[in-house]
Amino acid sequence: MTDIFKDIEPMVYKSQINVPYSWWAGKTASKFFTELKENKKIMGTKCDKCSKVYVPPRKICPFCFKENQAWVELSDEGILLSYTIVRKQLASLPKKVPVIYGLIKLDGADTGLLHFIDEVLPKDIKIGMRLKACFLEERAGKIQDIGYFKPIN
């Protein structure tokens, strides 16, 4: 069969789906963000049954299928559970590489919090190292009110 498309540039349609969303943050996240913004405090929720402390706070414990009704104030310091140093400028990155992401278990929490790590050389990053949250001066009630975590010397 003759290939009628031989030597012809294929027809390609360029398009984009662009739909704005307005998500209600929910009562739990609203309290978390308000405390970050107003008081530079990191709050977690505690499961009524297993006492596990979640940060970012969740209304429901996925392990017990129970509500987490108690609020707990957490330290702004913790240990590094895992990390990656991004070297390639992937499309989702909000800033220039290298970007360091860490999973940080704050003192008093039972889960890890995802965030940026900065003020550290890539070669000095180690699982288990202690880190501290650095709050921005201008805060807007977002996860980025913590600019990043940095090592505690």
């Binding site: 895992s82 990390y83 990656t84 991004v86 890890g112 996860i143």
Partner: protein
Amino acid sequence: MENAAIIGIGMTKIEANKVRETFADMVWEAVNKALNDAQMTINDIDNIITTSNDFWDGRTISCMAVGDASGARNKNVSCVEGDGTFGAFYGLTRVLSGSYGTTLVTAHSKGSESISSLITNAAFDPIYDRSLGMDMITACAMQATAYMYRTGTTSKQIAQVSVKNHGNAKNNPMSQLPMDITVEDVLNSEMISDPLHKLDCSPVSDGCCAIIIANKDRALKYNDKPVWIKGVSFCSDSYFLGDRDLSKAASLTKATNAAYKMAGINNPKDEIQVAELYDAFTYQELMWLEAMGLCDDGKGSELLENKYFDIGGKLPVNPSGGLLSGHPVIAAGLIRIAEIVKQLRGEAGKYQVHGAKLGVAQGVNGLAGQSHCVWVLGKEK
């Protein structure tokens, strides 16, 4: 379990960019290949499951876009968003319900037409962590760090998965990236996100797969090469990465144990002869093998070095070349099932595992292996 079998498989070649084919073109090819393979016509298909993802397809209700090419008009068609193994699970349950004798399952995607990093970033929670900008690669890189730290596995060791799988792909005409490479090539390739180099990551791919599942009454009606479904299970871990022990795949262990139990397998290391696993990244092949009890925890890298997982080794893993050699998301897990079917029929050509009677296929959904679907397939009922 009540007997059911896979009686037809069809897949397109996996390619970096099928610029001359639409989603429907790919589905049409895979469905017709599966029907021919099963010696059936579309009239023999009682119901259809299509598997797709709206973000990858760039359209809402994407499952409906391939209905015509799947022969779904005037039939009961339903859809699954996620990996093809989960679509196949739904298709199997429809057969086992007794309402349908046969199910056609399709799964497709064209990674070439969009930007995977933006799509997988959207899998993160929009309130808490999406705006940090992580995606599938960075989430899995973080998992690789945790796994390698816990088990002592090195970059050099995980690189050998890439060497093995790209090498296996040289015998598979459907694969995208057959390559002769060395461990040094992997370690010298561009560092994407520590510890994952470019050659530790699967490529962006286009492709489609279709399979036909039949109940025991219909399984022998059309051809004489049914592959029997011995055990199937899936299990999900919690959603937030920080809620899990990222260095372990607890949900995979649970799903696998349930599937083995259903299949009557007591000693998987000795009873299973071939595995096709979801190796989206090199470290994952080792991590999944260990979580599935196919080798001891933390010992995968050592066995790999001793050629245990090579074609011709004790347990060949991804003899087709795996996802490292071609990764059309959504279709990826269904291709793993189809590859095990080929092996058990003795139709895998140059990458045939001799004497394979029992094999296992695995699919993954969610960030860093949140959810796993495991299929144990057998040559004999």
